[in-house]
Amino acid sequence: MKYIVLVISCILLTDGDLREEYRVAADKNIIAVLGKGELKENKSIEGKEFYFFLSENGNDKSHVVFSSAPGRYDKFDYMIILSPDLVIKNIKILKYRSEFGYEISNKGWLRQFYDKPGTTFEYRKTIDALSGATYSAPSLVEDVNKIISYLRDENKQR
């Protein structure tokens, strides 16, 4: 019985769990951006996993979100770190599968999203077009906007 429970719980914990899949790389990134602390599960919508980050001194309550967005022939996985007032502090592409569009992992290009409070990002307008990433770059912009809007709605409800 115990074994069955264990197997089922393993399936539940690992199924589609982006956080679990990229734990090592993600934790390293979180420490680099926010310092030490822990993640507390918030919610999961459309395969996007929302977490609160609780810093060791308990002051910080940033958001860490894991998401997948469509590339040209396959989805890619990424994580995004936002301050409590929903300003983007970091985006990291965790896995890029397709042959096209991997250029979105460029740190300098991703920096265009950072520290812009209250912005709805627009590809080509506020975010520069990217050679070779004609599909994945606008797809990432759209997905980031979606995440911000979910979090904004949540903040309003409080």
């Binding site: 019985m1 115990k2 429970v5 089922i8 719980s9 399936i11 539940l12 040209r72 022939y73 396959d74 592409i93 896995k95 890029y96 599968r97 042959e99 991997y102 250029e103 992992s105 460029n106 740190k107 300098g108 290009w109 920096r111 265009q112 627009e122 080509r124 307008k125 520069d128 077009a129 990217l130 050679s131 070779g132 004609t134 599909y135 606008p138």
Partner: protein, 395 residues
């Protein structure tokens, strides 16, 4: 013990609630379950261009041409998260059918993938990224048509990988080579260089594979740099059943083979509405003295091509989603940069080309293009002027 039981019960309840939750959704029929499955496994796409070409000359009347230049259907299948297949089936000029890519990729880790099948030779920009919405102008740059014989694809095996943090990508392949001789005539010429020598994976002949590599750097925002190399020998149908003791036949077969070395540098840069790109390709053929002597052809021994292009999207700040991008490209290429003594060097093979036009993006992946192409051969012979217009698609 009680705690364990309680814990087990909670997990079981969670498990069943999740399992049953599936049935709370709308009823699942067969087609929607296949569609859901295909979303994960089977991927379709395509690209194409339909074009109008109007040559113009002050002293002559000339016909225009209307052509479905190409229509490609691409299909991929993900066998697992690590193993995938990708293919492109191409119709050129409506009637000609080709397979442009058909290969399997197995990813051990991001930095180490194995692939095998019919693949694109990574050389310059356009051979790998040849979808019409990714370049300016109706036609692909001439350097990427004549010097790099786009779409250059052969059967091979290789390794490729990406280091996303460092912004590096590498590709190394063993490919089958060009066919320099089809048994009756030589296929490499001064005028068309290697274009007619592509085997395209169709009952291709081979004596030994060639080496191909490309390194790409994308670690600086908006910039992409590429360095490509290709080293090998052409194949020859004259090598069929040649007795090793038959000196004459061996010498003839050897004369039908040339060595090919090609190197390429390419750069692309985007900032704001501005985009710049450039490419330089150098190629060297060995044994062209014997080859031209045997075939009567006039293949050059050194060949080069380069171009530089500037484009600016005028309405990037509008909310319409449209793009309006005028561009200018200068190309210079020469298939007779150097020739062996027995060949007469023809200046008409050095061409200066000017292309200027405008592209109108209707949506991401759909564009209307129009341009004027002026090609000036260096021998002073008549300048070729063409007005081009076309529809470009990629989805």
């Amino acid at each position: 013990m009680k705690k364990t039981t309680l814990f087990s019960a909670i997990i079981l309840i969670t498990a069943f609630s999740r399992l049953f939750a599936q049935y709370d959704n709308e009823p699942v029929n067969l087609s929607s379950s296949i569609l859901n499955k295909s979303e994960d496994k089977l991927v379709f796409g395509g690209y194409g261009q339909v074009d109008f070409y109007k040559p113009f000359d002050d002293g002559r009347r000339m016909n225009s041409t209307l052509d479905v230049t190409r229509l490609i259907l691409s299909m991929g299948y993900n066998f697992s998260s690590k193993t995938s297949f990708f293919s492109e089936i191409e119709f050129e000029h409506v009637r000609e059918l080709f397979i442009e890519q058909a290969f399997v990729n197995h990813s051990f880790v991001d930095a180490f993938n194995f692939r095998a099948g019919l693949m694109l030779v990574p050389m310059g920009i356009i051979n790998e990224y040849h979808e019409p919405t990714t370049f300016n102008g109706v036609n692909r740059p001439s350097v990427d048509n004549l010097i790099v014989p786009t779409t250059w694809r052969e059967i091979g095996i290789g390794l490729t990988g990406r280091f996303l943090e460092q912004g590096l990508k590498y590709q190394v392949y063993l490919f089958n080579g060009f066919s320099g001789h089809d048994g009756t005539k030589g296929l490499i010429t001064g005028e068309r260089f290697l274009r007619d020598a592509r085997q395209r994976g169709a009952r291709a002949i081979m004596s030994a594979p060639d080496l191909s590599f490309k390194l790409d750097f994308f670690g600086i925002s908006g910039l992409k740099l590429g360095l490509s190399g290709y080293f090998g020998q052409t194949e020859s149908a004259l090598l069929r059943n040649v007795e090793k003791t038959n000196d004459l036949a061996v010498a003839k077969a050897d004369s039908s083979v040339v060595g090919l070395t090609m190197a390429g540098l390419d750069a692309r840069y985007n900032i704001g509405g501005l985009s710049l790109r450039g490419e330089l390709i150098l190629a060297s053929l060995s044994n062209t003295g014997a080859y031209n002597g045997l075939t009567g052809n006039n293949a050059g021994s050194q060949v080069y091509g380069f171009y530089g292009e500037i484009a600016y999207n005028l309405i990037r700040n509008s909310d319409s989603g449209y793009g309006l991008t005028p561009f200018f490209r200068y190309e210079n290429y020469n298939t007779h940069y150097k020739v062996v003594q027995s060949v007469t060097k023809l200046d008409k093979y050095e061409i200066n080309e000017f292309v200027f036009g405008i592209g109108c993006r209707l949506a991401e992946g759909a564009a209307l293009k129009t341009d004027i192409q002026i090609a000036k051969p260096s021998d002073g012979s008549s300048v070729r002027k063409t007005f081009n217009a076309g529809v470009a698609l990629w989805f």
